[in-house]
């Protein structure tokens, strides 16, 4: 296959397969994030699963469709928003008079319900949101570096975002995730 064929749309079988598996991937990912406190999983694992659907889109439809469906600037803002929500939830403990990250939401439900662990459930959701936007953005960034090597057929505006902010953005994602 020639180099520039990489970014065209793929064969019908590949597209149909991706169409069938994309909703399953999304649902599984969100399920693992949502029930993170009562079953194995949690924020990071579910976030990575949801972000892998971005890769599935790229494999089936090519770079242009993926870049239009998943807007990189929105992903950046979403990631920072997730981190801010996490810190604010932690600070709720201080405002209630106890230490940082203390559980202040009681009387939520029985053991085994979805929202039953108080503060930590929402912190887990914030982490999940942050990870899915962060890793999604990372994937879009790396794939657009690949696209930028092919100068005339790639998404032009993605190339500029990437070439200026290449490793800086990747690192601020990475360090943000590590901070959690």
């Amino acid at each position: 296959m020639k180099f520039k064929d990489r970014f065209r749309e793929k064969h019908l079988v590949v597209k149909c397969g991706a169409d069938m598996f994309l909703p399953f991937g999304l649902i599984l990912g969100f399920y693992i994030i949502a029930f993170g406190t009562i079953s194995p999983g949690g924020g990071f694992q579910g976030g990575v699963l949801v972000a892998s659907t971005v890769l599935l889109l790229y494999l089936a439809y090519g770079f242009k469709v993926m870049a239009e469906a998943v807007k990189p600037e929105g992903l950046r803002k979403g990631e920072a928003l997730g981190a801010i929500i996490y810190v604010l939830l932690g600070l709720m403990g201080i405002f209630a008079g106890a230490n940082f990250c203390v559980n202040v939401i009681f009387d939520n439900g029985q053991v085994g319900d979805m929202i039953s662990a108080g503060n930590i459930t929402f912190m887990s959701y914030a982490v999940g949101f942050k990870v899915l936007t962060g890793i999604g953005f990372l994937l879009v960034l790396m794939l657009s570096l690949l696209a930028a090597l092919d100068s005339e057929r790639s998404g032009g505006d993605e190339k500029e975002v990437v070439e200026n902010a290449g490793n800086d953005a990747a690192v601020s994602d990475a360090s943000g995730e590590v901070a959690k």
Binding site: R76, K77, E79, A80, L81, A83, I84, V87, G90, L91, G93, I94, A98, N99, F100, C101, V102, N103, N164, A165, N167, D168, A169, V171, S172, A174, S175, G176, V178, A179
Partner: protein
Amino acid sequence: MIQHFPVLSVMVLFFSAFLIEIVGKKEILRNVIAFLAVTASLVMLACLIPSVMIDGQVISYWMGGWAPESGYAIGIGYEVDSLSLLFALLGITAYWLSCVYSFGYMKGKQNLGHYYTLFLMLAGASVGFFLTGDIFNMFIMMEIVTFSAVALTAANTDKLTAIEGAFKYLVNCSIGSSMMLAGIALLYMNCHTLNLAQLSAILPGSFNSTTLLAFALILTGFCVESAMIPFHPSFVDAHTVAPSSVSMILSGMVLKLGVYGIIRLSYIIFRVIDTSAIQVMLTLIGTVTMFIGVTMALAQHDFKRLLAFHSVSQLGYIIAAAGLCTTLGLNASLYHAVNHTLFKGLLFLCAGAVIHSTGTSDLDSLGGLSKRMPKTCICFVIGAFSISGLPPFNGFVSKWMIYQAVYEKAMQTGNFFYVVVTVTALVVSVMTLASFVKVLHSVFFGQLRKEHEDVKEVSPIMLIPMGIMSFLCIFTGIFYREFDRVFINSAVTSAFDNIDYVDGMMGDGYSVTYGLAGLTGGNLEFSYWNPYVWLSLFLMVFAAAVLVTLIMGRTTGRTLESGEDYDSAYGTGDLSVDFRGQTHESGDPEEKYAVFFSGEKAEYSHAGGSDLFWGFKYNWHRYYEVLQGLHSGSVNDYSIYAVIMISMLCIFMYIFMR
């Protein structure tokens, strides 16, 4: 409320980092948020000084309210004692100054939103590293510092080689932190706890092979972080190519993470510092580092690379003094750590000002900048005299303490090794002065180059941090006793009598059940000549020199500019052999001095910076061939040195500590 301040001071920095990522493009809002965040953190940490340093309390704080149950710590704790607070205050001051400097230095470059996000994250992670009481949390903070520092190094778009320095720095720091994580895993296997206070209580009774290997691996991680001898080439590369406000942080604060880690590890967690094997090992590593650092620095052609090698050498001083296990030694080491951040930060900021104005950092092509940039020159002279250890400045105080501490240790134990360390420390100090004379001549004094004719002084917002740092250098040099008593003595006391550390976290009486006792280290009295006497002596000699110059007058006659011909400059008068009774053209040298040049023409000659001390470099050229060949620049070579050092440390622990 004051007990929440440690956590809040870390969280406000992280929170603002994420806020800046949202508002990245608007410049004024971003600068205001960054400045407010660093100032708020500084104020909060300064509020802790009365209760922690002066009263001697230990603030302990459990995240999530998980207090220890039945003697086991189950939560993550933050614990602030004087040692932590000293380093955290030092760190946040350095970040404040660098933030103000980078408003001016990074103006006009692209992607400043990313720069400030990473900068605030670096700040939050360093302060969190110093204040935390959980060993895995220390590892996480060290990782965040590594990521942010590598990304900030790679963000220098002016230099082509920045990306290569960042890669080597990343590989080197990753090896160190992976070894540290392996050490933490081994430690957990043995002790089933991750809390520093509980480890400090449990460990001295249960030394076996696992904990010894854990000690070696975690010590390796901290030695990598503090640029000890085989791990230093990547650090030097990174400090050279980073933007100058970041270089100041890398050299001033990130290296101190390793120093704090080594002190916390050997004095408080493992309490192995009172065995002579560990003392000799730490002092040996420090001595070799200081010697190799300064000899490599004498041979450099690049301004910032020279400063980076000096950083490595001063870190050698700090670790060599910390490895002595006397109160005077630890006092000297901590004082020198504080001073190093101040004067090395000042030197890097001046280097940044020079690079910002002239665009080059090569010693051979700069010269005579003191006429155009006088304030930068004064700040640099203050910094250069501080690092060499000249009297009214702060370097003199801490270096004198180090000499006295090593000398006392040599007298006390009678070990010949410490005599060698004393002599090396003195020789390295002299060589530091020599290389700074070289830098001063080749950058600031000497003749101004034609292409640098129209450089201007840098903007005031870059001069303010330099001014504050010079003032602090002089202040801690003249009022050393008050500064020492308030800040450093309390830190040393908390490191030696560390029972409060354990009791503060785990409840009173915990240390008694384990039979702990503090370390003993001797008294804290030191004496040296009064700096006021030295200051007045200096001023008298200076006044005498000025008087002599004014009375005798200068030799008339000027030197040629480069490219000028003698005849066109001086007219067509001929300088004949007969020098009696000739009428000279204006501008010729006076006849009674002509015997000194034996009638030769005065020509323009610029001694490039690397031409000074040529004789020294020639005499040692075999040594320099070997050393400069070892700093080969290839990432594989640096990894080989790291692996050799890791194995040597592990083997050393097994041989000497059974």
